[in-house]
């Protein structure tokens, strides 16, 4: 078997950090000190190859004026849209990340992560399609794809610009990796993904000096051929997808991260169960993973100066973000299982 270089181990985890510091969801999403402390605790305890900040799909929508509900221990949701379909977004300026909503919480957190953490740093950006649904109504966005009278495209131009701007701020603050979250794309056909989602994602990816990943939650099997053709550095997929089949299709063209089930395995399994799953996945992936050379200004794992990160294109990760209920010993088991040598 080809010597592929090491596997990066990157569980998507922010919320389990609440167990370590006693902070609430509300606190970490509204206060960069609380957020950094939780991430710092996770980083020190588990040393993932990349530490992502907290996943919050409402931050950009809220900054654009959408109303968001917060609870102490649940990730927030958008409850009221801010843009009327007909014309609202035309009048709006693009975001000021320092002033609008809570975006600065994530930017300040990233700055502290850069200053204080050894491992590579990841940040999330809500994808243009998903953001469009949050600000103008997901049903209108979905139907807009069929009607295709131009209004959806104009809205997507706006949300793409928002996402680009925010991504660039996060990179300037220290993010090595930008993960674009597009859960709404899981609802559409490959043709509509190609028409309405691929281009905006590529625009964001092309405009930041960072590694970009595209993450779409759920069973995106029909979308995989299109996702593989999307110009990003890698894709991150959920547990419902056959990741080994995708690795085979990829033939080394890009990175793929995934896909241990964050609920069934990470919440409900024992640590032994987690290790078994991880070992099983790594064994299966072995046959298909290829060496990837990261040609960004900084490769993952290469921290000093320009260079190239040489590693396997298979990044062991969770299928989606770990909820707060994930026991810390399961994260430990994930990391151990990810790092032990497998024959």
């Amino acid at each position: 078997m080809e010597e592929v270089g090491r596997n990066f181990v990157v569980p998507l985890m922010g919320y389990p950090g609440l167990t370590m510091t006693g902070a609430t969801v509300r606190q970490v999403l509204q206060d960069s000190n609380a957020q950094f402390e939780a991430l710092d605790a996770l980083g020190k305890a588990f040393s993932p190859d990349v530490l992502f900040s907290f996943m919050d799909l409402t931050a950009e929508a809220e900054a654009l004026g959408a109303r968001v509900t917060f609870s102490e221990n649940q990730p927030p949701s958008v409850v009221e849209h801010s843009i009327t379909w007909e014309e609202g977004w035309k009048a709006r300026r693009v975001l000021d990340a320092e002033r609008d909503g809570r975006l600065r919480v994530f930017i300040r957190t990233m700055e502290r992560m850069k200053k204080n953490l050894d491992m590579a740093r990841g940040a999330y950006v809500t994808g243009p399609l998903t953001l469009a649904g949050e600000v103008a109504g997901i049903k209108k966005v979905m139907k807009g794809m069929i009607r295709d009278d131009g209004s959806l495209r104009r809205l997507l131009q706006f949300t793409t610009e928002v996402a680009r701007g925010y991504a660039r701020c996060l990179v300037a603050a220290g993010a090595d990796i930008i993960c674009i979250l597009e859960p709404s794309a899981a609802l559409v056909s490959p043709r509509h993904y190609h028409e309405f989602s691929k281009g905006p994602v590529e625009e964001i990816s092309g405009s930041v000096d960072a590694i970009t990943l595209l993450h779409i939650c759920g069973d995106v099997t029909p979308l995989i051929p299109e996702m593989i053709r999307t110009r990003v550095h890698g894709i991150s997929i959920d547990s419902a997808v056959d990741i080994v089949g995708v690795l085979d299709q990829l033939d080394g063209r890009m990175a793929i991260a995934g896909n241990i089930d964050p609920i069934k395995t990470m919440v409900f399994s024992t640590p032994e169960g987690v290790r078994e799953r991880v070992a099983g996945l790594r064994m299966k992936a072995q046959q298909y993973e290829k060496t990837l050379v990261s040609r960004c200004h900084r490769g993952i794992g290469e921290r000093d100066g320009p260079g190239q990160g040489i590693h396997s294109n298979f990044i062991l990760s969770t299928g989606c973000d770990c909820p707060p209920e994930v026991p810390l010993e399961n994260i430990a088991a994930f990391m151990e299982g990810g790092r032990e040598s497998i024959s």
Binding site: T69, S71, S77, M142, K143, I146, H192, K264, P323, E325
Partner: protein
């Protein structure tokens, strides 16, 4: 009226739904009434049949959410015309009742609304509570409606994890109540683990599952 003409109109209704051609559905609904076709027949054998085909296309990954939403719009355009002409029916009181909502903390509603629609056109009496529904509200509506099934949807893994508590709370308040769950992060296994009586992957499956747990065909 001749059976051929009735079939033609029913097919137009059904096809109109499948092709999400609202105009065709509206024309055919009016025609159905003009030609004296029973409104219930037009709904069940025209519109509902079309929506079953849509459900099929969705399961086979030919149709996705955008298409299904457009079909639902066409269906609703037909229902708007035909429903007012349904005969008041003693049998209505024997209709099985479902109270449905998206769980507290979760505001996703597309799937839940499609399930509500499919149950409605399949002969259930449906009370859709919307989104972010607390346990207390599920229970009070269940009591008020004397519903047979409480159906709970969750689209996020975080909100899904609360389903177990909700189901326990429902069983405690009314051991006879039947619960059904659905939503993208769920599976039959997870649903069983939560103690739900039924689980469905999509709207079409929800109708079949509701009938199964009520032991009706």
């Amino acid at each position: 009226m001749d059976a051929g003409k009735q079939d033609e109109i029913l097919n137009q209704l059904s096809e109109g739904v499948v092709q999400f051609d609202e105009d065709q559905v509206i024309r055919a609904s009016r025609r159905a009434l003009d030609e004296g076709i029973d409104a219930l027949t037009a709904i069940v054998e025209g519109l509902s049949r079309g929506m079953e085909t849509v459900g099929d296309l969705f399961q086979r990954k030919k149709y996705f959410v955008p298409e299904v939403l457009m079909c639902a719009d066409a269906l609703n355009a037909g229902l708007d015309i035909l429903k007012p002409h349904l005969k008041a029916d003693g049998a209505a009181t024997k209709k099985r009742r479902v109270v449905i909502g998206t769980i507290e903390g979760d505001i996703h509603e597309i799937g839940k609304s499609l399930v509500a629609l499919m149950l409605d056109i399949s002969g259930f009496e449906v009370r859709d509570l919307g989104v972010d529904v607390s346990l207390e509200r599920f229970l009070s509506e269940h009591r008020e409606q004397r519903s047979d099934i409480i159906a709970i949807s969750a689209l996020m893994s975080t909100t899904m994890l609360r389903m177990r508590d909700f189901i326990e709370g429902i069983k405690e308040a009314d051991p006879e109540a039947l619960t059904m769950v659905g939503g993208a992060p769920l599976s039959a296994e997870i649903a069983r683990g939560f103690g739900a009586d039924g689980y469905a992957e999509d709207a079409r499956g929800a109708v079949i599952e509701a009938k199964r747990i009520l032991a009706i065909d």
